[in-house]
């Protein structure tokens, strides 16, 4: 596909991202309970990140012999992030601490 449609897509993506930002702000002001708000906000953020990665960073139309390596090394850090947080929660996240 030609570069011009690329630019059109970029603009569409940009509008979508701004809209999602507005949405994040909006939902943060209606009270869904703490877990609800956090979950929703992180969900939207994750979606925005996927959009940026897929379109602006061209992960969507990554080609060639490096493609799978790129995908692997984009994916793995997020797994590690999950491991780190999950294994920290019992000790640091749930520990009754002196100031509360």
């Amino acid at each position: 596909m030609s570069a011009e449609n690329h630019d059109k897509i970029y603009f569409k993506v940009f509008y979508a991202l701004v809209g999602l930002t507005a949405l994040t702000v909006a939902v943060s002001h209606i009270n869904l309970g703490r877990p609800g708000n956090i979950g929703l906000a992180v969900l939207i953020a994750g979606f925005k990140v996927c959009v940026v990665g897929a379109f602006f960073m061209h992960l969507k139309d990554e080609r060639g012999e490096m493609r799978n390596w790129t995908y692997a090394f984009v994916f793995f850090p997020f797994v590690l992030f999950g491991i780190l947080v999950i294994l920290l929660i019992p000790d640091v996240g749930m520990r009754v601490m002196a100031q509360n």
């Binding site: 994040t24 702000v25 992180v42 940026v52 960073m57 992030f81």
Partner: protein, 205 residues
């Protein structure tokens, strides 16, 4: 970062106009950039992960995002998103050998990044004027550290982009050789991605 410029300097010759980069070298240095971005993600994982667990263990009074100015931050978000857009446009322009469009878009990217930093500076200064420092409580520790390191990344990106702008105007890049711009773009989008996470978890929750 780019293999091309590496070789230019390597052979000791000034990296003069349009030195074609083979498809392989382009892919190779892009892979290198992606690996570097992966390590960047891990760096912010450390900071954000620490913030998450500290917040879970902390109290509502301490971890209260509403003390921050979310309106400014929202403006900042839009500014960064827009700069990402112009960055992407710049790359597709250089792919079309449209040096003029590319230069304009890079310039827009730089100015939007500048806007981001200025607003960030206003935010910081208001905090300091109210004698709120990183030591005030652990929430501000996280806030200043995370936004601070993000800001440093923005600044670094701006410097690189400035160099790129000059070199573009000197006509050193073309559809045959735009690896450096592409990689800088990737880095810039990552800075954007990090902010997309920081905005809600710091300002809105």
């Amino acid at each position: 970062m780019s293999d091309a410029s590496a070789h230019a300097a390597h052979a000791g010759e000034p990296g003069h106009a349009v030195h074609a980069v083979s498809e392989f070298e382009h892919a190779q240095s892009k892979l290198g950039m992606w690996l570097f971005l992966a390590s960047e993600v891990m760096f912010f994982s450390g900071l954000i992960g620490a913030y998450i667990v500290l917040r879970m263990g902390g109290t509502k009074e301490v971890f209260d995002g509403s003390v921050l100015n979310w309106k400014l931050a929202a403006v900042n978000t839009v500014a960064l998103l827009a700069s990402s857009l112009t960055m992407a446009l710049a790359i597709s322009a250089i792919r079309r050998d449209d040096i003029h469009r590319a230069a304009i878009n890079i310039f827009l990217t730089i100015s939007l990044g500048g806007v981001f930093l200025i607003i960030k500076a206003i935010e910081y200064s208001t905090k300091f004027l109210h004698h709120i420092t990183p030591g005030t409580n652990v929430f501000y520790s996280c806030y200043f550290t995370m936004t601070g390191f993000h800001g440093i990344h923005v600044l670094a990106g701006l410097i690189v982009l400035g160099v790129l702008l000059v070199r573009i105007l000197q006509g050193r890049y073309s559809s045959k050789n735009y690896t450096v711009i592409e990689n800088t773009g990737l880095y810039w989008h990552l800075v954007d991605v990090v902010w997309i996470f920081l905005f809600p978890i710091l300002y809105l929750l």
